[in-house]
C-alpha cells in the first residue's frame, strides 16, 4: 500500500509551477508508472505530491522551426500514432514499441521517462541520438538543455525542484540520414532493458557525418560514445572501421553486474549492437 501524502491536482501548467515553487518542494507526479511503484516500495516518500495528470494543453506533438516537439504531457502511446514522429524519429518509435506494455505506454509520458533519470529509460537513447533538447520551465524562467547534458549521475538530473519539462524537441530529419534503436531484453514487451543502443548518422559523399551513438543501461546515465562517434565522423565507413568504432564504444561504457546481466555481457553486447546498427544505418543509406 502507498504511504499517505498530500495531493494537489492542478489543471494548468502555471498553477502546477506555482505549487512547485513552494519552499517544501513538492514532488511532481506525471504518469506515475515509475514513481508510484517507487513510493509503494518505500524508495521515495514525498510529503506532498503535485499530480500532472489533469494539466490541460500539455499533451501535443508539433512541427515548427525545423524541429519536432512533444509537450510535457505527451504519452509514449502518442508517439506510436503520429506520422511526424514516424518520419522524423524512427528510432524513437522503435523504442516506444518495446516500452513496457500498453497500459503503461498509455499513461507514461515521454517527459517522465526523461525526468526520472533511469539509465535504462528506453526513450532516452533514441532522443539523445536525435540531438534532442529539453525545455525546463519554472514559475519565473524557462531554459533549454541538450539531453546529452541533462543527466548528472545515477537518477540525478539538472532539473531543479521547481521546474517541469515543458517540451522535448529535436531537429527534423532529412534525406541521407538514418536512425535506429535496439533494445536487448528478455522479451520484446514488459521487460527492463539489458542494453539499449541508438545510432543516428548521415552519409554525405560516402562519408559519415553527424554520427551519434547513445548507450542505455550500461553506465550510471544514458551516455554518448563520443570517441566511437569521432572515429566514424568524416570517414568512409568500411567493415574494419565500423568494427573498430564498435569496440571503442564497448570500451567507453561503464556497465555494472546486476540481476539482468553481467557487466562483461553488457560490454560485449554494446560491441555487437553498435557494429550491427551502424552497419545497418550505412547499408540503409547506400
Amino acid at each position: 500500500m502507498l504511504g499517505e501524502f498530500d495531493l494537489e491536482i492542478p489543471d494548468s501548467i502555471e498553477e502546477a509551477l506555482e505549487l512547485l515553487a513552494a519552499d517544501d518542494a513538492p514532488a511532481p507526479l506525471a504518469g506515475g508508472t515509475n514513481m508510484l511503484v517507487d513510493m509503494r516500495a518505500g524508495g521515495t516518500r514525498p510529503e506532498r505530491v503535485v499530480s500532472l495528470a489533469r494539466l490541460e494543453g500539455v499533451r501535443w506533438i508539433a512541427e515548427r522551426d525545423g524541429r519536432i516537439a512533444v509537450g510535457g504531457g505527451t504519452t509514449v502511446s502518442d508517439l506510436l500514432q503520429d506520422e511526424r514522429i514516424a518520419e522524423h524519429g524512427a528510432s524513437l518509435v522503435g523504442a516506444a514499441r518495446v516500452f513496457a506494455g500498453q497500459m503503461v505506454r498509455n499513461t507514461a509520458t515521454v517527459a517522465g521517462n526523461v525526468a526520472y533519470g533511469s539509465p535504462a529509460a528506453d526513450l532516452v537513447p533514441p532522443l539523445m541520438a536525435l540531438d534532442a533538447g529539453v525545455t525546463l520551465m519554472s514559475k519565473s524562467a524557462s531554459r533549454t538543455v541538450p539531453l546529452a547534458d541533462y543527466f548528472t549521475g545515477y537518477r540525478q538530473t539538472v532539473r531543479k525542484p521547481d521546474e517541469l519539462i515543458a517540451e522535448i524537441s529535436w531537429p527534423k530529419r532529412g534525406a541521407g540520414m538514418a536512425d535506429l534503436f535496439y533494445k536487448l531484453a528478455r522479451r520484446k514487451g514488459d521487460a527492463i532493458t539489458v542494453t539499449g543502443v541508438a545510432v543516428s548518422l548521415a552519409l554525405a559523399g560516402g562519408k559519415c557525418a553527424g554520427v551519434r551513438i547513445a548507450l542505455g543501461a550500461v553506465a550510471p546515465v544514458v551516455m554518448r560514445a563520443r570517441k566511437a562517434e569521432a572515429m566514424l565522423d568524416g570517414q568512409a565507413p568500411d567493415a574494419a572501421l565500423i568494427e573498430a568504432a564498435a569496440r571503442q564504444a564497448a570500451q567507453e561504457c561503464d556497465p555494472i553486474d546486476d540481476v539482468r546481466a553481467s557487466a562483461e555481457y553488457r560490454r560485449h553486447t554494446v560491441h555487437m549492437l553498435v557494429r550491427r546498427l551502424v552497419g545497418q544505418a550505412v547499408e540503409h543509406l547506400r
Binding site: L7, Q102, T107, D190
Partner: protein, 162 residues
C-alpha cells in the same frame, strides 16, 4: 490540505460516490466499491490484471490515483458486457477457450478493447503489441490472440459495435 475527499466516479456509465484518501489507487477504490472484477496482481504495472479503460484507453488501475480520474469515464470488464449480453471479446474468449484460471482475463479483455478503440482492424503483430503488458501464468496466449482476432472480425462485421 485535506488528505481525504468525497468524489464522484463514473464507473460503467453510473455515477458512484466514495470518500477516499489521496493515496488510494483506482484499483483499491474500485474493489472497495464492489467492482471485484478488477483484479489485483503485481501492483507495479507489470501484469495488467488491474487494467480498466479511462476515457477509452486502458491503464493499470494500480498505478492510477483515484483522485486523478474524477469525472472520467471508467470502464471495467463488467461494463463491456455480462453473461446475458456478452461483448464480442467476452464471447470470443469463451468460444475459443482463451481462459484457464481466468485471473488475467478481465485485464486482457480491457487491453484488447483499448486497442480496438484505436485500431478496429488489427493484425497479429498489433494484437501482440497491445497485449504485451498482460501476463497470463497459465500460458494461454495463443488462444487469447485467436480470440481477439475473432472478436475484431465479429465487431467489424457488426459495424464497429463496441
Amino acid at each position: 490540505m485535506a488528505r481525504e475527499k468525497t468524489l464522484t466516479l463514473k464507473i460503467n456509465g453510473r455515477r458512484e460516490t466514495a470518500t477516499l484518501p489521496s493515496h488510494r489507487t483506482l484499483l483499491e477504490a474500485l474493489r472497495g466499491m464492489g467492482h471485484v472484477e478488477v483484479k489485483s496482481g503485481c501492483e507495479k504495472g507489470d501484469c495488467g490484471a488491474c487494467a480498466v479503460l479511462v476515457d477509452g484507453a486502458a491503464v493499470d488501475s494500480c498505478l492510477t490515483l483515484a483522485w486523478t480520474v474524477e469525472g472520467r469515464a471508467i470502464t471495467t470488464v463488467a461494463g463491456l458486457g455480462d453473461a446475458d449480453s456478452p461483448h464480442p471479446l467476452q464471447q470470443a474468449f469463451a468460444d475459443t477457450g482463451a481462459a484457464q484460471c481466468g485471473y488475467c482475463t478481465p485485464g486482457l479483455i480491457v487491453a484488447a478493447q483499448s486497442m480496438l478503440n484505436d485500431n478496429p482492424d488489427p493484425d497479429e503483430d498489433d494484437i501482440r503489441l497491445a497485449l504485451g503488458g498482460n501476463l497470463c501464468r497459465c500460458t494461454g496466449y495463443t488462444k487469447v490472440f485467436e480470440a481477439v482476432g475473432q472478436a475484431a472480425m465479429a465487431m467489424k462485421a457488426r459495424g464497429g459495435d463496441s
